[in-house]
């Protein structure tokens, strides 16, 4: 987690865009990797899925250290 300065609102929106995009990409890559018959393409998709998962985890950490992040706003807390 970050010390002192927290992530600014504008950055948070950008991170949100990236995570949404990455989520779709990773889901698609995972589905498509099973669908294609070409070995090489399947490997590429599988690799992309694995790194995307790591990236999404990192981005999620960043979003959770944003000043807009509020645990109390989580749906399951209501």
């Amino acid at each position: 987690m970050l010390e002192g300065k927290r992530i600014s609102p504008h950055e948070t929106f950008e991170l949100h865009e990236i995570v949404s995009f990455k989520n779709i990409c990773a889901t698609k890559a995972s589905a498509m990797a099973g669908l294609v018959t070409d070995e090489e393409l399947s490997t590429l998709l599988q690799q992309d899925f694995t790194t995307s998962q790591e990236h999404i985890a990192e981005l999620k950490d960043l979003i959770q250290s944003s000043e807009l992040w509020d645990e109390n706003q989580l749906p399951n807390n209501h």
């Binding site: 300065k5 927290r6 600014s8 609102p9 504008h10 950055e11 000043e67």
Partner: protein, 134 residues
């Protein structure tokens, strides 16, 4: 330097057209510098986007390598400009209200500048250049 802390606040009243008068030029340095820094930052932002877009369209390995280097340099430059602007108080990404206030003051100053008579009516200086056939 004191102007670094509150560069634009010096624009208290409506801008006087007699901008060569010392008391009317109060706050000018901060205003000029923050405007130029903002222009610089916007250029750096466009530079990053342009390099990245070019990278997705170019196949030549040598060109890719050079443009990737350019992109990295551009990202570093962007980091330095935004850091400088934050240090000087020209940019408040963590304080949106402050940033909005600053943007409005800058915009107002720009509008006032647009109404100023800054340059002589006739700017043709061709006689002073070696362009006889122009």
């Amino acid at each position: 330097m004191s102007y670094e802390k509150k560069p634009i606040n010096a624009l208290k009243g409506p801008m006087n057209n007699d901008y060569l008068e010392i008391q009317n030029s109060e706050g000018m340095p901060g205003l000029v510098d923050s405007t130029i820094a903002l222009n610089f930052l916007l250029n750096a932002k466009s530079g990053i986007k342009n390099c990245a877009t070019a990278l997705t369209e170019i196949a030549d390995p040598e060109a890719r390598k050079e443009i990737h280097n350019m992109l990295n340099a551009q990202i570093d430059l962007h980091a330095q400009i935004s850091e400088l602007m934050m240090n000087k108080g020209w940019f408040h990404p963590y304080h949106v209200a402050e940033q909005f206030k600053l943007d409005l003051v800058s915009a107002q100053a720009a509008v006032q500048i647009s109404n100023m008579q800054l340059f002589p009516g006739n700017t043709s200086r061709l006689g002073t250049f070696a362009t006889p056939n122009y």
